[in-house]
C-alpha cells in the first residue's frame, strides 16, 4: 500500500467566546437542563409512612419507579416504553422541523462540553490565549493552568457521576453514606465510571463523540428534508467573499468569525455537513460582524434549503409556519400526541388494586372423589396502597360454580400487606350434577374487592369441565 495514514490525529479546536441571541438561549437551556439533572433527586414528595419520600426514584431493589404522584410497578413498564417511543417520535418531529436542534441545545454531550469550554475559558483565557498556551512549552504557568482546569473539570465530573446514583436510592441517606465510605461498592463504581466518561467526553473527546461515536448524526440525515429549518450560510448573498479592501461582490468579508466560534471545528460556508450540530453560535458571530460592517444580519441564519431559489431570485422566503406545518410534521405530532393521550388514559384509569389470574393447566382439571370437577387458579393480588388492605374474592358466572381459597378455612377475605403482591391459590368447583362439570369450558370472572375503599377489579378466565 501507500504511505497514506490510516488514522488521523484529532485536530485541536479552540472555540472563541461569542455573544448573541442564540448564545443566551443556550446558556438558558444549559442552566435549565443541568438544574433538572442535579436537583431532581433532592425534591421530596410525601407518600405516607411505608413509601419513600423522594419525588423521582428508581427503586431497583423493590422494583418500583416513583415519579411524583405516579408509581410504576414492573408490570406497568409499558409506560416507560411509551415514553421512550414518544421521545423517539419527538426527536423525529423536531429534526424534520428544526434540524438537529436536540444536538445543538439539549444533548448532554453538547451541554457538558459547553460547560467544560466555559471553565476552560475562565482559566486559560479566550481562543488566542488558549492557542498560545497550546503551542507554548510546558513551563510552570502552563502546568498550573492545565492542572487547575483539569481539577475543576474533575469536580464537575464527580458531581455529574454523583448526581446519577441519587436517582436510585434515597439521596440524603446515600450522600451521608458516600461521605463516610459506607455506601454500596456499586455506588462508588457507578460514580467512578460516569466521572471518567464525563471528564473524557466533556474535556477531551468533545466533537469526536458526535462525529465518530454517536449514531444520531447518521439517522438525522434521513430525517431532514429541504423544508427543514437548519443553520446555513446564504452563499448566494455572501459570495464572492473577500476582505473589505478587495471589494468583492459578496457580503462575506472572510473574517473567519463563524469558523473560530465553531465547537465542531468546521466552516459552515462549506454547506451542510455531518459534523454540524446546529448550535447556531456561527449565526451570533456573523450577525455581530454584519452589525459592525453595516450589512443586514442573517448571512448565516436558520433557513430552509427549499427557499434558496426564491431568495436567489430576490423574493422573500416562504413564511416560517409553512415550513413547520407540513404533512410530515403534522403526522409526527399526531402519532406523538395519540401515544401521549393513550398513556394518560392508561394512567388515570388504572386501579389501586389489581389481580392477575393464571389458570393452572397442569392438569386442566382435578376430579374430586365425589365426581366434582375442580379448577385451580393462581391469583396474584396486588395492593398498591400504602396500607394493608382486606380483599374479598368472589366469582361471577352464568353457571353454578363454587369458589374456595387455599388455606383460608372457608373464608374468602385475604389481607394483602401495603405495596405488595401476594399469590393466592383459588379453587373453583362444579358439583357432578352441575352443567359446568360435564361441559367443555365455562366462562367465569374472578373479582377482587377492597371492601373498605369500595373499589374492585376483575379478570375473566375459563373453567374446564370433563368433556374436553
Amino acid at each position: 500500500m501507500s504511505d497514506r495514514p490510516l488514522y488521523a490525529p484529532q485536530e485541536p479546536i479552540f472555540p472563541r467566546r461569542v455573544t448573541g441571541v442564540f448564545r443566551n438561549l443556550k446558556w438558558g437551556v444549559m442552566i435549565f437542563t443541568l438544574g433538572i439533572y442535579y436537583l431532581t433527586p433532592w425534591i421530596r414528595w410525601d407518600r405516607g409512612p411505608n413509601l419513600p419520600d423522594q419525588a423521582v426514584l428508581v427503586d431497583m431493589a423493590s422494583r418500583r419507579f416513583y415519579f411524583f404522584w405516579i408509581e410504576i410497578w414492573p408490570h406497568e413498564f409499558y409506560f416507560v416504553a411509551g415514553l421512550l417511543i414518544m421521545a423517539g417520535l419527538g426527536l423525529f418531529l423536531f429534526t424534520s422541523a428544526l434540524g438537529r436542534v436536540w444536538c445543538g441545545y439539549t444533548c448532554p454531550q453538547t451541554v457538558w462540553t459547553d460547560l467544560f469550554i466555559l471553565v476552560e475559558r475562565w482559566i486559560e483565557g479566550d481562543r488566542n490565549a488558549r492557542l498560545r498556551l497550546y503551542r507554548g512549552k510546558w513551563d510552570v504557568r502552563k502546568w498550573r493552568l492545565r492542572l487547575t482546569k483539569w481539577f475543576v473539570w474533575l469536580l464537575i465530573a464527580i458531581a455529574t457521576g454523583g448526581a446519577w446514583v441519587f436517582y436510585f436510592t434515597d439521596a440524603p441517606t446515600l450522600l451521608v453514606n458516600l461521605l463516610n465510605f459506607t455506601a454500596h461498592p456499586v455506588a462508588y463504581m457507578t460514580i467512578a465510571a460516569l466521572t471518567a466518561t464525563t471528564f473524557l467526553f466533556g474535556g477531551f473527546m468533545r466533537e469526536q463523540v458526535c462525529i465518530y461515536m454517536c449514531p444520531w448524526p447518521r439517522i438525522q440525515a434521513a430525517m431532514m428534508d429541504p423544508d427543514t429549518i437548519t443553520v446555513a450560510y446564504r452563499e448566494w448573498r455572501g459570495e464572492e467573499r473577500g476582505k473589505k479592501h478587495e471589494n468583492k461582490s459578496g457580503d462575506c468579508i472572510d473574517c473567519m468569525a463563524c469558523v473560530n466560534v465553531c465547537p465542531m471545528g468546521i466552516d459552515i460556508r462549506d454547506g451542510q455537513q455531518m459534523e454540524c450540530i446546529t448550535c447556531a453560535l456561527c449565526i451570533d458571530a456573523c450577525d455581530d460582524i454584519m452589525d459592525k460592517i453595516g450589512k443586514p444580519r442573517g448571512l448565516i441564519d436558520y433557513i430552509a434549503l427549499s427557499d434558496e431559489p426564491a431568495e436567489r431570485a430576490g423574493e422573500p422566503p416562504a413564511p416560517i409556519w409553512k415550513k413547520i406545518l407540513r404533512p410530515r410534521t403534522i403526522i409526527y405530532t399526531a402519532i406523538w400526541a395519540s401515544i401521549g393521550v393513550a398513556l394518560m388514559y392508561a394512567l388515570f384509569v388504572r386501579s389501586d388494586i389489581e389481580l392477575t389470574v393464571s389458570p393452572v393447566r397442569n392438569p386442566t382439571y382435578v376430579l374430586q372423589s365425589d365426581g366434582a370437577v375442580r379448577n385451580i387458579y393462581d391469583v396474584r393480588l396486588r395492593n398498591k396502597a400504602g396500607d394493608d388492605r382486606v380483599f374479598h374474592i368472589s366469582l361471577t358466572s352464568d353457571e353454578i360454580l363454587r369458589i374456595e381459597l387455599e388455606g383460608r378455612g372457608g373464608l374468602r377475605d385475604v389481607v394483602v400487606p401495603a405495596d405488595t403482591t401476594i399469590l393466592q391459590r383459588v379453587y373453583v368447583t362444579a358439583r357432578p350434577q352441575d352443567p359446568a362439570a360435564s361441559s367443555d369450558t365455562t366462562a367465569l370472572r374472578l373479582w377482587v374487592e377492597d371492601v373498605d375503599a369500595d373499589i374492585r377489579a376483575s379478570q375473566s378466565t375459563t373453567f374446564n369441565g370433563r368433556d374436553q
Partner: protein
C-alpha cells in the same frame, strides 16, 4: 500508488482506488480510535492471564486471580443457606398441624417444598402433581394413606412398600388370579363396577357381592369405602389409581398391584421432608 491524489469535488484525499470512475475518499479514523483498539488488545491479554480463559485438553487455564463461577455459586448457596438458617430451624421445630397458612414460615415451606417436589417427586407424580396411572394425583381429595399433614408427612418420610424403611406404609393385595376362577373374578369386577356406576349386570353383581364380602371387605370395607390404615383404596368414589373400567379391574384383581414409593426420610434432610409435606398439603387436597 504512493502519489497522493486529491478529489476535485471535495478536496479530500482519495485512496487511489477507482471503480467505474468513482474514487474512494480517504477519511481516516481518529488516532484515539487506534489507541482504543490497542488498549482493548492489552486488556484482552491481561484478562486472559487474570481470569480463566484458554481451553486446554481437560479444563481451562485457571487465571491468576483464581476466580471461578463455580466457587461463586457455592458461596452464593452458602450465603442463602445462612440467610434461611432461622426459618429452617423454625420449620424443623414447628408443629406442622398448627402452621398458619399466611405466615412467612408457611410461605417459605411451600416455596422450599415446591423446589424439592420438582426435583424429587415430579418424575412419578408429575410436575403439576396430577399423578399418572399408578401414581396418585396429589391435587384431589382422595388419599390412600391419609390426607392430613401428619399422614402426608409420614408417607413421604417412610415411603410405601419399600424394603429400606421398616416404618414404610405396607399392605399387600393378594393376586386373585391364583385363588379365583375366571367366572368369580368377572363377578367381583362386576360388583366393584356397580359400586360407582349404574350400568351393571345385576345377576353377576349378586354373586360378586358375596365373594367381595368374604374376600375383599376385610381391607376395602363392607361397603367398599376402603381403609386408610391399610392403604386400601375407596372403591365407591370417582377416582381410580389404575383405572375403573372392567378390563383394568380384571387385571388388578387377577394380578394385584404393588405400588412402591421410596422412603424420602432416608434421602432428604428433615427440613426438606417437612417442607415438601407442607407443599403437598397445600396443593388442594390437604385435610
Amino acid at each position: 500508488m504512493s502519489e497522493r491524489k486529491i478529489d476535485d469535488e471535495t478536496g479530500v484525499e482519495t485512496t487511489g482506488h477507482s471503480w467505474d470512475g468513482i474514487e474512494e475518499l480517504n477519511n481516516p479514523l481518529p488516532r484515539w480510535w487506534l489507541w482504543t483498539l490497542y488498549a482493548c488488545i492489552v486488556w484482552a491479554i491481561a484478562y486472559t492471564i487474570a481470569y480463566p480463559a484458554w481451553p486446554m485438553i481437560s479444563g481451562a487455564t485457571k487465571g491468576m486471580l483464581g476466580y471461578s463461577t463455580r466457587a461463586e455459586v457455592a458461596a452464593d448457596i452458602v450465603a442463602h443457606e445462612a440467610k434461611n438458617e432461622a426459618l429452617v430451624a423454625e420449620l424443623i421445630a414447628a408443629d406442622l398441624t398448627a402452621l398458619p397458612p399466611s405466615s412467612d414460615l408457611h410461605r417459605y415451606a411451600v416455596a422450599r417444598g415446591g423446589s424439592v417436589f420438582r426435583a424429587q417427586c415430579s418424575q412419578c407424580h408429575g410436575s403439576g402433581a396430577a399423578g399418572a396411572v399408578g401414581y396418585p394425583n396429589l391435587l384431589d381429595n382422595d388419599w390412600l394413606w391419609g390426607g392430613d399433614i401428619e399422614n402426608i408427612s409420614a408417607t413421604i418420610r417412610h415411603g410405601v412398600r419399600n424394603d429400606t424403611d421398616l416404618d414404610a406404609r405396607y399392605s399387600e393385595m393378594p393376586a386373585y388370579g391364583d385363588l379365583f376362577v375366571e367366572k368369580e373374578i368377572e363377578a367381583v369386577v362386576e360388583y366393584v363396577v356397580s359400586l360407582s356406576s349404574t350400568e351393571f349386570d345385576a345377576g353377576l353383581v349378586q354373586a360378586g357381592s358375596e365373594l367381595f364380602l368374604d374376600n375383599c371387605a376385610a381391607c376395602h370395607g363392607d361397603e367398599g369405602l376402603g381403609d386408610q390404615f391399610l392403604g386400601a383404596p375407596n372403591l365407591v368414589d370417582a377416582i381410580w389409581l389404575y383405572g375403573g373400567d372392567r378390563d383394568t379391574l380384571t387385571e388388578t384383581v387377577t394380578n394385584a398391584r404393588f405400588g412402591v414409593m421410596p422412603a424420602w426420610g432416608q434421602r432428604l434432610s428433615d427440613v426438606d421432608v417437612r417442607a415438601v409435606s407442607v407443599y403437598v398439603h397445600a396443593l388442594g387436597g390437604g385435610e
